[in-house]
C-alpha cells in the first residue's frame, strides 16, 4: 500500500484496521499523522451526531403500534378463520396468475419493480434537478460510451449527464428542460421491459419505454407532456453498435 491508497482508505473509514493499512502507517509518519487527524474528526463527528432522543419515544411507538396491531385483529374478527383462508387461497391464485402473466412482459427482479426503482433513484438524487450545465457532446459521449450506448449529435440540450447505478446495471442519469421544470431521463441498459410502464408519484409523472438495449425512463413534474420529450430522446439515444 502506498501513501495515496492509505489516505484514500482513511477518508472512506478512518477506523479501518486492515493489516495493509496498519503495516503502512507503522512505518510512515505523515500517514500516521493523517490518521490521527481523521480519527479526531471522527470522534467529534460521532459525538456531534449523538442527538438527544426525546424521553418516552420507545413507549409512544409501542403504544401506537399496539393500537395498530389491535386494529388489525379487530378488522379480521367479523369473519371466521376459514372464510379468510378461502379468500386468501383465491387471492393467492389470482396473484399467481397475474404474476405469471405479467412476468412475460416484466422480468421482475428480486428488488423493487422497475418503476419504484426509477422513482427512488430520482428522489435519492433530487439535487440533479437543479443542475444547469450545458453538457458538451464530448462529456455526453463519454457517459454514453461507458454504458455501451451513444447519442446522436442532434440530441436536445442537456443540463446534466452522469453515470449512475440502476439496480445491478450501470446506467446514465440525464436532465433536460421540460415545460413544467426539469425532466429526468434514465438510460437503463439491461433493464428490458415488454411495453411502456407508467411512473407516477405525488410529484412526478413519467413513462419507461422499452428499447433495444434495455429501457429509457422519462420523468417530469406533474402535468409535463412526456411523449413529446420522449419521442426525441428515443430517436437520439441508441445502442453503441447501431
Amino acid at each position: 500500500m502506498n501513501c495515496l491508497d492509505c489516505r484514500r482508505e482513511l477518508l472512506i473509514d478512518p477506523r479501518n484496521e486492515s493489516t495493509e493499512l496498519i503495516t503502512h502507517i507503522s512505518h510512515c509518519k505523515p500517514c500516521r499523522h493523517e490518521r490521527g487527524q481523521l480519527l479526531a474528526l471522527e470522534d467529534k463527528l460521532e459525538s456531534s451526531l449523538d442527538y438527544s432522543v426525546p424521553e418516552g419515544l420507545e413507549d409512544r411507538i409501542l403504544e401506537i403500534s399496539r393500537d395498530e396491531i389491535k386494529t388489525g385483529k379487530t378488522r379480521s374478527a367479523p369473519f371466521g378463520g376459514h372464510v379468510w383462508q378461502m379468500a386468501a387461497g383465491v387471492m393467492l391464485g389470482i396473484g399467481l396468475a397475474v404474476y405469471l402473466g405479467l412476468n412475460q412482459y416484466y422480468p421482475l427482479n428480486n428488488a423493487d419493480a422497475l418503476e419504484l426503482t426509477v422513482l427512488n433513484h430520482i428522489t435519492d438524487e433530487l439535487n440533479h434537478l437543479h443542475e444547469t450545465h450545458d453538457i458538451s457532446q464530448q462529456k455526453l459521449g463519454s457517459v454514453m460510451t461507458a454504458i455501451n450506448t451513444r447519442a446522436t449529435d442532434d440530441i436536445v440540450k442537456l443540463n446534466y449527464a452522469g453515470k449512475c447505478q440502476i439496480r445491478k446495471n450501470a446506467g446514465a442519469h440525464l436532465i433536460v428542460n421540460g415545460e413544467r421544470g426539469p425532466v429526468t431521463v434514465l438510460v437503463m441498459p439491461g433493464e428490458h421491459i415488454g411495453k411502456n410502464v407508467n411512473v407516477e408519484s405525488v410529484r412526478f409523472d413519467g413513462t419507461i419505454y422499452p428499447t433495444s438495449y434495455g429501457s429509457l425512463a422519462v420523468v417530469g413534474e406533474k402535468g409535463e407532456h412526456i411523449p413529446s420529450i420522449a419521442e426525441k430522446l428515443l430517436e437520439s439515444i441508441l445502442p453503441a453498435s447501431s
Binding site: L11, D13, S47, L49, P54, E58, T117
Partner: protein
Amino acid sequence: MDMKAKQKHFETLVGSFSSELYRFGYGLCHNSAQAEDLVQETFLRAWKSFDSLREAKSARAWLYTILRRENARIYERQRPEARAPEDLPDVPVRGNDTSLEAFVLRNQLNELKVEYREPLMLQVIAGFSTEEIGGIMDISANAVMTRLSRARRMLRESLQLENIQPTTGTLR
C-alpha cells in the same frame, strides 16, 4: 411465527433500534416532531411487512431503508421552487455534545448535500459497512466509498476554514 412471537420480536426491534433510527431521522430532517413521526411510520410499515422479514440480522438495515424512503416521500411532496434540496428547516439542532466544535461541525454537516450526508450518517451513527450502505441507498459500494471520502474531505476543509481542528482521536 405465531402472532405472540411476532409481536415480541417486533417489540424487541422497537426497543433496540428506535433511538438510533430517531438520530438518523433527525439528522435527515432536523425537526424533532418529524423525526419521531418518521420512526413511528417506519415501525408501522415494518409491522405491516413483518412476514417478509426472513432474517433477523437484516432487520436493522431494512428499518433504515424504510425510514429513508419515508423521508424521501415527505421530501418529494415539496416542489423544488418551495424548497431547495440542501435547505433544512430552521430549527436549532439538539445534541448531547454542546461544545463549540460540535456546533460548528453540525452546521458544516448540514451544509453537505444529502447524497454525502446520508452515507456518512449511516456509517457514523449506525456503523454500517459500505456494502450495507449501498444496499440501503440502492447504489454501488464504490459510489458509497466515493461519497464517504468526499464528505470527510469537504467537512475537514470547511472546519479548517473555520479554524477548528478536533484534537483527540481514538480507535473503537
